[in-house]
Amino acid sequence: MSTRLATGGRLIDRSRLQSFTFNGARMTGFAGDTLASALLANDRMMLGRSFKYHRPRGLVASGAEEPNALVGLGHGARFEPNQRATTTELFDGAQMISQNHWPSLEYDIGAVNQAFARFLPAGFYYKMFLFPRVFWKHVYEPFVRQSAGLGKAPDAETRDADTYEHFYAYTDVLVIGGGVAGLQAALAAGRTGARVLLIEQTPHWGGRAPVDGGEVADQPVDDFVNQCVADLEAMPNVTLRTRCMGAGVYDHGYVLGYERISDHAPGMDGPRHRLWRIRARQVVTATGAIERPLSFAGNDVPGVMLASGLRDYVVNWGVSAGDRTVVVTNNDDAYRTAIALRHAGLEVPVILDARAAGGGALADAARELGIRVENGKGIARVTGSKRVTGVAICAQAGEGAVLEEVPCDAVAMSGGWSPVVHLWSHCGGKLTWDEGSAMFRPDADRAPTGHDGAPFVTACGAANGEFDLAAILKDAHAAGQAAARATGHKPGRKAAPKAQAGEEAPLEPVWLMPQGAGIKLRMKAWLDYQNDVKVSDVQLAAREGYESVEHTKRYTTLGMATDQGKLSNINGLAILSDALGQPIPQTGTTTFRPPYTPISFGAIAGEARGPLFQPIRRTPIHDWHEAQGAYMEPVGQWQRPYCFPQPGESHDDAVAREIRATRDSLGLLDASTLGKLIVKGPDAGRFMDMMYTNMMSTLAVGKCRYGLMCSENGFLMDDGVVARLSDDTWLCHTTTGGAERVHAHMEEFLQTEWWDWQVYVVNVTEQYAQFGVVGPNARKVLEKLGGVDVSKEALAFMQWTEGTLAGVDSRIFRISFSGELSYEIAVPASMGRAFWDRLLTAGKEYGVTPYGTEALHVMRAEKGFIMIGDETDGTVIPQDLGLNWAISKKKDDYIGKRAQARSHMVDPDRWKLVGLETLDGSVLPDGAYAVGEGVNANGQRVVQGRVTSTYHSPTLDRGIAMGLVLHGPDRMGEVLEFPRLDGSVVQARLVDQVWYDKDGDKQNV
């Protein structure tokens, strides 16, 4: 059994007990434990079940590479699935549940899958689910749904109780990884005066070195680590950050850091996670290395662990995985585990060294401790299902004939080490195969390059393939200095500290144990624990023709789980290379993509949640609208009142009331959202003529003109009223939400095409609150407010004037989008609310009625005015809408003119705008199509038109609509059929789209 040892554990504080639960059972650990070490100390070796076969799975590792120990952590608003137990710190009150089992962890029905494992080979999904089709719904899908998935998603109705944030940090040198290499690199860079940021994913400095031991500058490596940290903390130009993982390296020295601020103390003030968005001029990756498993039968049985992980639990947390541990290895490093176990008073029955010649000095040290060492031996298979009970020993060179069975309750395996090259590779760093150490390591000659073509990432230490302490420090020192030098800082002459170098015998690659293992053994030799991919699966893929490692990955799902193959990739591609009969470098690796380990959605979202999810643009009258109970709708990022329902009133009734009140007496519209652009300069006139289809240069000062704006391809993109303010200045109104787009359109042409024209454009949209004062009594209320002559004589239709209206500086436009007598009044936004209140007070005697966007839409439709976004959809040209009158024939050019002369644009078969009047008075469905006779080439019903706007008109008390119809204007009076979604059909007659006051008598009073 696994248990807490009586002594030891450099990271735990035995005086501080922490209680927690696992699947409801109460347990205790110590401050400094990880979830994993605490579980192991409580004899929880089996932690979950695998994805596909539901096999029992336990801890394999002690760090970020752990594939199995994922738990659901927390409860209620703080529940989160798939939390990696090895990288999450224990806290008092932690609640954990195991994942992917039913009905219980101990007894799992899905485990029958493994009995059918031979029917679930690689590519099973691809092969089986093709046919017969009905099987998908009734057989395969329920099966997949039942057996797939790791943790369960949090309850959809709960809201994350924590907050998250981003932080932008700039630095000269970013060092990722706080092991001895990272510390030394940071020191070397920091001493030059460069700004240095050093981040470490765990809460501790020093990485593996304190566990593995050694001496630096004649002091224990522990002391060296402490000295480094103290020195770095004393440097004002260096920032140190633990619990902060380098998640991804991107172009231009952009790096994401993932800081877990309060995962170890949930509920404390401040954000839970912080996403560091770092701009580093140079990046040093000192990310260490990951030990590889060995592929032998039963290497997934709980109790089989990486030798380094097993050693970590003993040294760091005082936890033993078992009383009797068999060590199996192809290198010298695993001997350290045997020695550490023996020092902790635990038994090591045998060390199986797959190398015929065995190990070096460390092997001798193990033998001196009385440990039995067997060279040239390996594991034929592991016995036990939910827990290791023993190993069967065989010759590595053979086919697995059992020589001896050794009882044990843990196995420490080591297949060598792979440098963590992820961050090096994210932005294009290339790798080279190191034959001697059987590993891919960064190729310094093909580093990720920055904007200037020079490398901006340097790997050092174990991440660079250096494993000897002296070599690591030398490499890291050089990397830190080189990075600082690249940022213009001058390194001194100080050399790297000397470390005691230990001789190690070379590793011998072992990709399969024993090397001649038959199919029965290979089918139990796991490569990817989380996704249940075995040696036999990869070999099958190769036989079926999968030669590319990327294809094999997707076919077998090797390395596609949440651990992204940290343990399985190299072993898998070695098996693939062997099956394909080609060297490993020819097979290559799959692509390393960020993030290094999964990061929380909360960290990615940062502050963007709740009210900050998206900016909402508010007019100066917004608060008033809300206080009136207005029903708001989004228009771009603006919130506008759709209507102002009174108590008990439906939205439809409110809209009808607002329209009647406006047409009968006086309506008010908050039109502040309309875009307003000032265009000024000696060349502004000809610029305006290019921007608009109309002639704008001839517009007289004091007058307004409705204008159309098209894209280069001739399509109508915006419309609005243009006012000429002075000889060289125009004011362009755009649609709500269109100001930024139109401004950008203008600037693009000014900056790229007509850069020599003297024109400036400024967006003044928000400078003004703008109100529509609409209805037969509009003039009366303005006269009552007083200060500006708004009579027909002084201010005719389509003119504007300025003055002090009701004591407020105002610009008054006599324009109408409703067909009524109408003024639009612009006042400074800071006076908007005060002026609005004055309008309401003065309008009281006329029954002043604020109206919303829907009333606006209905009134413009009654008048036959088009709306950008309704009648246009990016494929409509002004000519389609009968707006030829707004297209100047006199101008040589305007944006879109040439496009509008293309054959398709002048095709007489283009659908054209008409009014649509239902025979039964009902409202046509929005977007409905008018059907014709027969079917088209695709077998679809022929259509000959569609509805673009449709409303109930309270003024006419019937449905009115506009639509685009084939030869529409030539077919007035014809009746078309519009099928509804329910299968019924509505008939509508083609009519003129101007229903209300066609001659304009009402607006011209």
């Binding site: 944030e165 404390m268 963007a608 400036y760 003004y768």
Partner: protein, 192 residues
């Protein structure tokens, strides 16, 4: 115009730093060739300020001038003087191609006051700019974005910053700044 109201009407918040609606401020956008002597002279005459260099702000008395783009400056003045500033610029730049326009009410201004390092952190949570003292301090100006909206900021002195944004997103900006300044969320990246 005593009834003139800023978007948030004096809202304030105490956290890592104090965040407050700074009320109405006169602002004039001036577009023109910032390298031209005529503009330098006009700006000096109207505001008393030198034309700022790239990403800088200059100040004199109630006025300040900020660099917005190679052909755009922002003149700051008391709220009631913006129209007069526009008129004065028009007179001073008679015959010189330019565009000067009152944008005072198109903006909201916030004042951040408190510990210098904390203040830098609050901004660095929202804006992709280098907020370290070496890179940014009094006299510097950044036209950038804060989370999802455009904005600009400068430091009138150590321990103080002004943030401007469009008026319509004043509430969003206030919520952003107060969230970033929430108690307990200090980063500790910038040494005071």
């Amino acid at each position: 115009m005593s009834e003139a109201a800023s978007a948030l009407d004096g809202a304030s918040f105490e956290g890592l730093v104090r965040v407050a609606d700074a009320g109405l401020r006169g602002m004039v956008t001036l577009r023109g060739d910032l390298g031209a002597d005529a503009l330098h002279a006009a700006v000096k005459q109207v505001s008393g300020c030198d034309m700022p260099g790239q990403r800088k702000i200059t100040a004199a008395g109630d006025s300040a001038v900020a660099w917005m783009a190679p052909d755009e400056a922002l003149l700051l003045c008391p709220h009631g003087q913006a129209d007069a500033t526009c008129a004065a610029l028009a007179r001073a730049l008679d015959g010189v191609h330019h565009l000067a326009v009152n944008v005072s009410d198109a903006r909201a201004t916030f004042a951040l006051e408190g510990d210098d390092g904390a203040l830098r952190e609050v901004l660095a949570k929202l804006a992709p700019a280098d907020l370290s003292a070496e890179a940014f301090g009094p006299g510097d100006f950044r036209r950038t974005r804060l989370a999802q909206v455009p904005g600009a900021f400068w430091m009138p002195r150590q321990g103080a910053a002004r943030v401007i944004c469009f008026r319509s997103v004043a509430q969003y900006m206030f919520d952003l700044l107060t969230t970033a300044a929430a108690k307990g969320s200090g980063v500790g990246y910038f040494q005071a």
